[in-house]
């Protein structure tokens, strides 16, 4: 662990502002993410963390500023195009396909990668069959990795919350993303589930070398697993650096604990 090599800047966020009518959700935010690192965005509730993630993911179009991914700058992008570029995400409030089994949910993550002709797939002949098997193997690998073997055929809606969160992660992993955006992966979990999730996140980073951008408002968890941390408060960036630097930052302390007058 932790022998992974942090690479060049893969994602560069420059001067992003986001307004909803008169509400300023984000003001002039800049930060970058390096390849293979675990980058956390933290901040109290309503700080603009999810808005930031949604900008990167193409759900929101920032009012100002630019986002550069692997040297390509984009302003208007929808989620689908972002997905094609190799960015996957999980959701704060689970957005799984509840009626579908765990396997099918994760298989949907392979959708962009399946190339065979529709007719061949339906008939299950030759190359289509082989391709399906290949993707299925990959998905089984993810299922093993996330330790949800026992539930592979269960409709996701029937699983407990912690496991649903894992399936959400599994679906994102199935896309073999270069960057993985995790929106509060530990929200609403008990201590044990949180520990499991931390372990999975570290393992993903170590095993697949995926760059991870993660949102969390629980500072304790984040400090232990991230390489660098951005702190937001009221839509502004108030801190950026290694966990230790951030921990000792006056602004961050006052944002979290309140200022002493």
């Amino acid at each position: 662990m932790n022998q992974k090599k942090i690479g060049d800047v893969i994602l560069d966020v420059k001067n992003i502002s986001l307004r909803f009518g008169g509400v300023k959700a984000l003001t002039d935010i800049s930060f970058n993410v390096r390849e293979h690192e675990i980058r956390a965005i933290i901040g109290p509730n309503g700080a603009g963390k999810s808005s930031m993630l949604n900008c990167i993911n193409g759900v929101y179009t920032p009012s100002e500023g630019s986002i550069t991914f692997r040297g390509k700058t984009f302003a208007h992008m929808n989620s689908r195009q972002v997905a094609e570029m190799g960015v996957a995400r999980t959701f704060q409030n689970l957005a799984l396909f509840k009626g579908m089994s765990v396997i099918d949910n994760i298989m949907t993550g392979r959708n962009l990668k399946i190339k065979s002709n529709l007719l061949l797939q339906a008939l299950r002949i030759g190359p289509a069959e082989r391709e399906e098997i290949r993707h299925r193997e990959f998905v089984e690998h993810i299922i093993d990795f996330l330790e949800i073997q026992a539930h592979r055929k269960t409709p996701v809606g029937q699983l407990p919350y912690g496991l649903q969160k894992r399936v959400d992660l599994g679906r994102a992993l199935a896309m073999e993303p270069q960057v993985l955006l995790l929106d509060e992966p530990m929200a609403g979990m008990n201590v044990e589930e949180k520990q499991d999730m931390c372990r999975f996140i570290l393992d993903v980073s170590a095993e697949f070398g995926t760059t991870i951008v993660l949102i969390e408002h629980d500072m304790g968890v984040v400090m232990d697993i991230s390489d660098r941390v951005v702190v937001l408060d009221y839509g502004k960036k108030i801190g950026d650096g290694t966990p230790d630097e951030v921990r000792n930052n006056e602004d961050v302390i006052s944002a979290y604990l309140g200022t002493s007058h």
């Binding site: 989620s79 689908r80 957005a95 579908m100 949910n105 949907t108 993550g109 959708n111 399946i114 994102a172």
Partner: protein, 309 residues
Amino acid sequence: MAFFLETLIGGLMAGMLYSLVALGFVLIYKASGVFNFAQGAMVLFAALAMARFAEWIPKWTGIDNPIVANLAAFVIAGAIMFVVAWVIERLVLRHLVNQEGATLLMATLGITYFMEGLGQTLFGSDIYKIDVGMPKDPIFMLESMFQGGILVNKEDVIAAAIAAALVALLSVFFQKTSTGRALRAVADDHQAAQSIGIPLNRIWVIVWCVAGVVALVAGMIWGSKLGVQFSLTTVALRALPVVILGGLTSVPGAIIGGLIIGVGEKLSEVYLGPYVGGGIEIWFAYVLALVFLLFRPQGLFGEKIIDRV
């Protein structure tokens, strides 16, 4: 006994047509979470297109071969349904991504009236015949068991075979292909589907197109039995209880629901009708649907809804 069997078979045949219309509902609901009220209008629209082109093609081209004319009319009507699907996606659905179900339902209600009007403006509002050359002669079955045998319409048997083939095709499409999986994913959650790179717009065109073709097949079979006319749209209202019975998300549910209602209607009319003065056929389906809503709201095969509180 022979009479009972004949009534039963008659009911099954009527039910199969309900099933076909219901199938259109289920497809669109499954794949986009939209309860498409316009399915009936689509049946009428497709049937009108087919009937009229089958009539116009020999006139325009001078080809006097009914098979060629019908085939060409079917292909053209199919193409028209594709255009309809594309236009609906472009003008309506695209702007309503992530909206409430009720909003989408109202939108399809609007589409219904628009398509009914447009269909009649383009293709006329008389009664038209679709004659795809299905044999009309009856066959007698089980003559050794019953005196005189059981009378079955050959046309009905062929129609049933077509419907069965269509259903088999669709099940394979939904269960075995990646596009089918994408369709089911879109039905569950638009946002999540987009985030994993499923092209929402293309998926919607595909599914409305498939529903359009199902509407075309349903319209063709109804049309060749009873003629194409405005009252075809009311068939769609008959399919509503079928969907409730079978479950909105289940393809087999639509089929079995349709059959149950078809058979139930006929049997209750024949055997209970005399005691209550008849007319059961008209309301039977709706009462059955109400009972289902009380005791099994997700239908026979629908996905059980478990909500976290």
